[in-house]
């Protein structure tokens, strides 16, 4: 005689374990997205602060602009969103919203950077990168690795990456301003468009500012290590 009650109890306990796993996973993914949202808010505030500072520039000189003028956290949002995109547990609508905010923040940061360049004569050290998530794009994956490596090597380099097919007016405007074709990946460096994959070495040759960044980073490092303790 089969004790069907035992099966029902086992089924109920298993269902509870499943339910708990789904609940915990949801809570954690919400928490992760909340973290991204917090960083985005911080970046937005940073940009607002920089814009305000920039507005004040009309009355002051470029020397007053400190090293922390531009937000340092954009890169980390990008990494987290890329990771989240490849996971299944995240709510697509939330993720979409965060991506939208991220791209807009990138564009605002980029505009600020451009204005800074014009006003203070700083040489541009930024790359606009268009990739695709719609079609299989092996070169996009490789270009992603190259740009991450470059950013690790040159912390002052600003890489603004955009999902070419993302439905956002500002991205479409950028695409039409630079006349970016759908032949991805595409990089815009100093106003010129480069399609396809380019190795780290090729990019270092193409962007002379990277060398300057490297020299500046080395000089800073040297100064930091040779400065005697004062207290």
């Amino acid at each position: 005689m089969i004790n069907s009650k035992k099966y029902l109890v086992a089924f109920a306990i298993t269902a509870v374990i499943f339910g708990t796993a789904i609940f915990v996973s949801n809570i954690l993914s919400q928490k992760k997205l909340e973290d991204v949202r917090t960083i985005e808010n911080r970046v937005a505030l940073d940009i607002l602060s920089s814009e305000t500072q920039f507005a004040l520039l009309e009355e002051t000189s470029c020397r007053d602009i400190g090293p922390g003028f531009l937000s340092k956290e954009l890169g980390s949002i990008g990494e987290k969103l890329t990771y989240a995109e490849n996971q299944t547990e995240f709510n697509n609508a939330d993720l979409e919203y965060l991506k939208r905010s991220y791209f807009l923040l990138e564009i605002k940061d980029y505009l600020l950077m451009k204005r800074l360049t014009e006003k203070c004569g700083v040489k541009p050290t930024f790359i606009l990168y268009f990739y695709s998530t719609k079609d299989l794009c092996e070169d996009c994956q490789k270009t992603g690795y190259v740009l991450t490596a470059l950013r690790d090597k040159y912390p002052d380099l600003r890489v603004y990456s955009f999902d070419y097919h993302f439905d956002l007016g500002a991205i479409n405007t950028l695409v039409s301003i630079y006349k970016v074709k759908s032949d991805l990946p595409a990089l815009i460096i100093n106003g010129l468009i480069y399609y396809g994959f380019h190795s780290t070495e090729e990019l270092e040759e193409t962007v002379p500012a990277l060398k300057e960044l490297a020299a500046r980073a080395k000089a800073l490092e040297k100064a930091a290590t040779s400065t005697p303790e004062t207290n």
Binding site: I2, V9, A10, I13, V24, S25, K80, K142, A149, D152
Partner: protein, 415 residues
Amino acid sequence: MAEIQTLILYGSLFISLFFEVFLLITYLEVREELNREESYLSKDIQKFPTVTIIVPCFNEERTVDNTVRSLLNLDYPKEKLSIIIVDDGSTDGTGQALLRFESYPQISVLSKENGGKYTALNLALKKVQSELVGCLDADSFVNADALRKIVPFFQDTSIMAVTPSIKVFEPKSVLQYLQKIEYSWGIFLRRMLSSIGALYVTPGPFSIFRVRVFTELGGYAPGHHTEDLEIALRMQKHRYKIVNSQGAHVYTVAPKSLGALYRQRVRWTYGFLNNALDYREMFFNKKYGHIGIFILPIAASSIFSTLFVAISSVWHNLSRVLDALVKFQTVGFHWQSSLPSFDWFFINTGVLPILALGAVMLTLVILYLSIKMADGQVRLSRGIFFYLTLYIFIVPLWLAKAVFNTVFRRQVNWR
């Protein structure tokens, strides 16, 4: 495609978790029964039934001596115990080794042309005149009290066979230590299956039957090289009751090398699959109780779900390795970006990993109970480490081969 894969993974995890929960509930039910059994078995036996133990040998010159001596050392009245040793056409010194036992009045030595284990057993069965009969593989040894812990079960006239707890004899190699833990798991599982009447193997080492099982159901069949599985399924099909005596300990020499273990397990899994096919009418058949409705289907499906999970994880890890390779080719080894990120954001908190974690935790609980049941105490040993780290990598090897052989109708070798 990815959705189907995820769905199968969820299904597999649900079934695994369900089975583990089912086992734990059974354990809670059986706990008191185990204590009662212990006190019942320690009482003196009033009437000793006559028993014959058959020892089939094929090229077992190194171990047969210890096997037979362990039988002679059994704490059981000598006049009630007979031993029949069958040399199944050995080509080594087994025949020579058996000569020394010819002078023992309890022992008969038979010799025949090689025909497989089941033929050796059937030859001996014809000579059996006792009430109970059992088999002991010539690579196994029994504890002196093993038979005394089995015989009392037969006071219940509905019980037709009793299986022992099998342990690994003096493990030396990594694989033998690993199998020691695996066998502990087996001891736990058999005891649980016993209490729900769902034992589907009467193992070669020292399972004891009423002789009428063979007179009524016939002798051993080839059983796809797993005659101990076939006879158990045949008994279950005829609603013959099989129980497990957890206190009766038998030791077996476990395969030392990966090759030997692989061949043994391919044979076992192949045997299970093919016997399951032969007895497929029992599947999902309420008439056969837990074994039909749950245990046989889950045992069969676990082979496929384990293979599926193994292939999925190989595929997943392979694509990660390929990604890392592409990254290495593109930017070389980049120390900074190659460092693992300690940001909790990058820890996979999807439903599947959390469920897998739950399943692993339940497995550890069952493993703890198994070792406690087998050894009386739990100590962290190298066997547990080997079992937890290596076992999952080697199991899919023999499962895949056994499924392949079954699908393409290839025979397996005994050794």
